[in-house]
Symmetry: C2
Subunit: 144 residues, 2 copies
DNA sequence: CGGCATCCCGGATGATACTG
DNA sequence: CAGTATCATCCGGGATGCCG
């Protein structure tokens, strides 16, 4: 998606934001956007979704290895939460040693698609953000 | 965006996720996705961005009122963080009483666009997630 | 009005040890 | 292998009070 930004064009964006906020206030007094963010805004959920989305099916320790620095406990907790939300499917095989496989549900896939925009943004603008932060720190220092 | 999900089609999603993860591992050892998520994954950042995107320019207490239940402290902290990241512009008017206005930068607008997919997903699937959670809770209870 | 400093609590997260 | 249980820790974030 290519976006050109001029002085008088942010109306497009404004409409976007207004639509989200408006839809968000329909049903309950609790904004669904905040609700979902509370769920997947934690440290590991989206990483799990990304990795599961990238590899289709993963065993517990495979997923753990891919993410790298997640503790066993937190991976368990996170996966349970995702399972409860209907985003991840858990499949236990009655074997010795045990084997447990995880994969995204259709709902999880749809979230992955919705998230892809944010993911590509992160990769595209990471440097820009880093620079902005440096500039801000410098400004603060000189004014401090 | 309309998405049809069949058994043999998740390759599309897999490619999505793989691309994000792949891009994310290029530059540094620190994944930009996680970095950005750490920034905007907190309780208030995205809400600020949404409201600023919806209204263009807002004063401190206007924004606070719109969000509703954010403490003064957290709104300040959040806005500072967003400013440091180059997502929000802060404008102080030398008046008495003081007036401080906030608005999104172009970078902030681009993030809003990237986020819109997630926002609409949240609104569209909030109910589905709620149902899944209920079903999960019921399952857990019966299995005890 | 907008913001900073201080205190403090609770939940999120980690480390470690044990189990089916 | 894939957890569960327990304890320790850390930090987000709320409450309050003061300031320019």
């Amino acid at each position: 998606m290519h976006v050109t930004i001029t002085d008088n064009q942010p109306l497009v964006f404004r409409a976007e934001a207004q639509k989200i906020l408006q839809d968000a206030q329909t049903a309950a007094s609790i904004c669904p956007v905040r609700h979902v963010l509370d769920r997947i805004g934690d440290k590991w959920s989206l990483l799990c979704i990304l990795h599961l989305g990238a590899t289709d099916t993963l065993r517990f320790n495979e997923l753990r290895k891919q993410i790298g620095d997640v503790s066993q406990r937190m991976l368990t907790v996170t996966l349970r939460s995702l399972e409860a939300d209907g985003l991840v499917q858990r499949h236990v095989y009655a074997e010795v040693p045990p084997r447990v496989e995880y994969q995204l549900t259709p709902l999880g896939h749809s979230l992955l698609v919705a998230f892809s925009g944010l993911g590509t943004w992160a990769n595209a603008h990471a440097q820009e953000v880093a620079q902005a932060r440096q500039a801000f720190a410098a400004r603060e220092k000189s004014e401090g």
